[in-house]
Each structure stands twice: as structure tokens, then as C-alpha cells.
């Protein structure tokens, strides 16, 4: 049942990310809801869920991308695994650590996606400055709200 709900939520976020970009954008940048979902899921359910969820979300995003097919699947898989693994092995579950992890996940995914798509580092850097930074900040801001709101019970 939980899996079905999570799948439905993933579909809803994917629909939101692909259809309401102009509605949810701030200064032209849209938060990365799918990455936030992936990080939250990997933190909650561990690396295995993170890997498969990352792969599926990555494939879904690749289905829309005109070029660099498979790059996002690869990047999201790595992010899902690393976040889930870090949560299980190394880190404590306080909200600040989760936010730091989300920030690392965003920029790690950005870098990996660019590299897997065949871009060079200066190109990835330029893309980051053009809109990636703002998108990252919005995603981290949204994640902060999410993690602070939903991690109170764990910190007590």
C-alpha cells in the first residue's frame, strides 16, 4: 500500500514538474521536486529504495530530454544510492544534516548529469551559473521546510 502511495506521489510530482513549471517558478527557476522526493525517500527507506526510485525517476526525466538519454537515470541512481547509504551508515538523522545532504545531492546530480551527458566542466559550470544555482537554492529551501516540518519527532 505504501509503495503504491509513493508511486502515485512520484507520478504526481513528475506531472507537476513537467506541466506547471511556469506556475511554480521563481525568477524563472523551478525547484527540483523529483530530487527532493528521491532524497526524502532514500533517507527514509535506505539505499535499495533510493537506487530503484532514482533509476525510475531518472528514466522518466530522460524520456523528455532531447539529448543525453540515460544520463539522468545514471545520475539519479548514484544520488539515490549514496544518500540512502549515507543515512544508513554514517550520518545522524537531524534536519540540518538532511539539508546538507540534499544540497550535496543537488550539486552532485548536476555534475554527474552533465558529465554523463557528455558536457565539459566549463559548460557545466556555465549552466550552473545560468539557472542551476537558483534552482538549487529553491530546492534546498523547499527541502528545509520539508525536513524541519517532518523531522521534529525524530529529534526528540
Amino acid at each position: 500500500m505504501k509503495a503504491v502511495l509513493l508511486f502515485a506521489l512520484a507520478l504526481l510530482l513528475l506531472t507537476l514538474q513537467t506541466t506547471l513549471q511556469d506556475v511554480v517558478s521563481v525568477f524563472g527557476a523551478v525547484p527540483d521536486f523529483l530530487l527532493l522526493f528521491l532524497v526524502a525517500l532514500a533517507l527514509k527507506f535506505g539505499p535499495v529504495a533510493g537506487v530503484w526510485c532514482g533509476l525510475l525517476l531518472g528514466i522518466a526525466q530522460d524520456a523528455y530530454a532531447a539529448s543525453g538519454f540515460g544520463a539522468d537515470a545514471m545520475a539519479m541512481t548514484v544520488v539515490g544510492y549514496v544518500v540512502g547509504f549515507a543515512e544508513e551508515q554514517v550520518l545522524k538523522l537531524d534536519a540540518i544534516t538532511k539539508i546538507v545532504l540534499l544540497a550535496l545531492a543537488f550539486f552532485g546530480r548536476f555534475l554527474l548529469h552533465g558529465l554523463f551527458a557528455g558536457m565539459e566542466l566549463p559548460q557545466i559550470g556555465a549552466l550552473l551559473l545560468e539557472g542551476g544555482l537558483l534552482r538549487g537554492l529553491l530546492t534546498i529551501l523547499l527541502g528545509t521546510v520539508w525536513f524541519v516540518a517532518f523531522s521534529r519527532d525524530r529529534q526528540v
Binding site: 513528475l14 506531472t15 513537467t18 506541466t19 533510493g50 526525466q61 523528455y64 537515470a73
Partner: protein, 273 residues
């Protein structure tokens, strides 16, 4: 069956999911190395078909919300256009008469099909769109896509009830353009999906503010569709060429309704002399 399921489950969680990770990475790697047919026909088809109904509903709800304001604006525009049409009809008659005099063949009137954007490429690059018209409406791959302001891109994949549009911002898109004032031909392209530039021969006389239209070369876009305006010039790596940075007339971030120009694949629509 239950044992098999348990075996699979234990394999997936083995060593903190290391096997799952390797398997998922292999799938992603296989996708990167896959043939374009697999990409287009299986993955894109599956995901865009599954999500299309939901995207269509969201697009419809938004459309309903905007329709009243849009209606008021269109009524006003309609009044203006009715006036312009009467003037253009006169011009058309005159044009036909002059064509006859000069022995020009008749221009083929291409058909249009209108579609709404229902989804966008969710990545930062934003290089592709999904529109709600497809093969059922006569849309085919490589048909030009435009708005009343100018060129947007071309159909990259047409499915039964929806299609994928490849925008001009994709590095794979190259468009032959014509500068309106000097009639210099150039190539519009991009390497980073953000900055579009047109390459012209050096000393072509083009300058900031000049406008670009499609040249009709290449067989996909007909001649004369507005493309964009030259914003500034950058130094070119090649001495005999100059690079003009171009601002598109149609900002791809604000696309809602699009027109697909229906034409037979591989056949030029532009006027033939």
C-alpha cells in the same frame, strides 16, 4: 513463487543494496548506449503515454482558468485582424495578378494544426516539449512548429495523440536563417542550450537589431518565418566568419499554444520559382 520472491528480495538488499546499485547502474548505462529506436519507441513512448492523461488534465484545468481573459483579448484582436484581412485581401489579389504577369508558380498553402503544450522537459535545460496533437491530427516527425511570433522547433517524435517537440535551444538543432535587411544567409545554432548564435560570413554588413527569418534551406522550415533579432556580436574563432548572438522572438519559456505546419516529410514548402 514465494521462495523466488524472497530470494530476489534478499539478493536486492545484499550488502546494503550493492547488487541493486550495480544492476540499476547497468540498466542506466545500457540506456545510454542504446539505439535511438529503443529510446524513441519504447522509453519515450511508455513514459509520455502513461503521463499524458494526467498532463492533459492539468493543462485543461489551466486552460479553463485562462480562457475568459483569453477570450476578451481575442475579441479585441479579432476586430483588429478583420480590418487587416480586408487590406490583405486586396494585396493578395494584386500579388496574384503580379505573379501571373511574372510567370511565378502558385504558392502552396500549407495547413496548420494547433496544439497546446501539456508537458516540458523537466531538466534544467528545458529542451523539449510535449504537445497534445499527434499522428491522429496529421502530425509527423520533422514538421515545423511555430507560434504567431516565430519559429519554436520541430516535431521530433509523433505518437498517436501527442508529439514531442525539439526546441531550437537543443544543440542538435541547426537552422538555416536569412537576415532580412542584407539578405545574408547564416546558420543558427547553440552549444550550451542558452546562447543562440547565428554564424554569418565576415563583413556581411549585419548589425545589432537586424531580424532573422528562416531561409527555407534544409527542407524542414519554409522560407520567411520570423526567428529572432541580433542582440550583439561575439568574436568568432574563424576569421572569415562572425558570430551574432540572437534573441528569439518566441521565448521558449512562455509557450502555451503552438502551430504545427503540416507538410509532407522531405518536401520543401517554400515558393518555387
Amino acid at each position: 513463487m514465494r521462495k523466488l520472491f524472497a530470494l530476489l528480495r534478499s539478493a536486492f538488499v545484499w550488502r546494503r543494496g550493492a547488487l541493486s546499485f550495480l544492476l540499476a547502474l547497468s540498466i542506466a548505462f545500457a540506456m545510454m548506449r542504446s539505439e535511438p529506436e529503443l529510446r524513441g519507441n519504447v522509453v519515450q513512448f511508455a513514459f509520455s503515454t502513461v503521463l499524458f492523461p494526467a498532463q492533459k488534465i492539468v493543462a485543461y484545468v489551466r486552460w479553463r482558468a485562462d480562457v475568459e481573459e483569453e477570450n476578451r483579448r481575442l475579441l479585441l484582436e479579432n476586430a483588429k485582424l478583420a480590418y487587416e484581412v480586408s487590406a490583405l485581401q486586396q494585396a493578395k489579389i494584386e500579388n496574384e495578378r503580379l505573379r501571373e504577369t511574372l510567370n511565378f508558380s502558385q504558392r502552396r498553402e500549407p495547413g496548420f494544426v494547433m496544439g497546446s503544450v501539456v508537458a516540458r522537459d523537466p531538466t534544467l535545460a528545458n529542451l523539449a516539449l510535449v504537445i497534445d496533437v499527434g499522428e491522429e491530427d496529421g502530425v509527423r516527425p520533422d514538421m515545423p512548429v511555430m507560434t504567431s511570433l516565430g519559429v519554436v522547433g520541430r516535431i521530433s517524435k509523433a505518437m498517436k495523440g501527442h508529439s514531442h517537440v525539439l526546441l531550437l535551444q537543443d544543440p542538435a538543432s541547426r537552422l538555416s536563417v536569412l537576415e532580412n535587411r542584407t539578405r545574408t544567409m547564416g546558420i543558427l545554432e547553440t552549444v550550451d542550450s542558452y546562447h543562440l548564435y547565428a554564424v554569418f560570413p565576415a563583413f556581411s554588413g549585419t548589425r545589432v537589431g537586424d531580424t532573422l527569418v528562416t531561409s527555407g534551406f534544409g527542407g524542414i522550415f519554409p522560407k520567411g518565418i520570423p526567428v529572432g533579432e541580433i542582440e550583439n556580436f561575439e568574436e568568432s574563432d574563424v576569421e572569415v566568419l562572425e558570430r551574432a548572438m540572437v534573441r528569439l522572438f518566441q521565448n521558449p519559456a512562455y509557450l502555451e499554444e503552438l502551430f504545427v505546419l503540416k507538410k509532407e516529410p522531405g518536401r520543401k514548402v517554400e515558393e518555387q520559382e
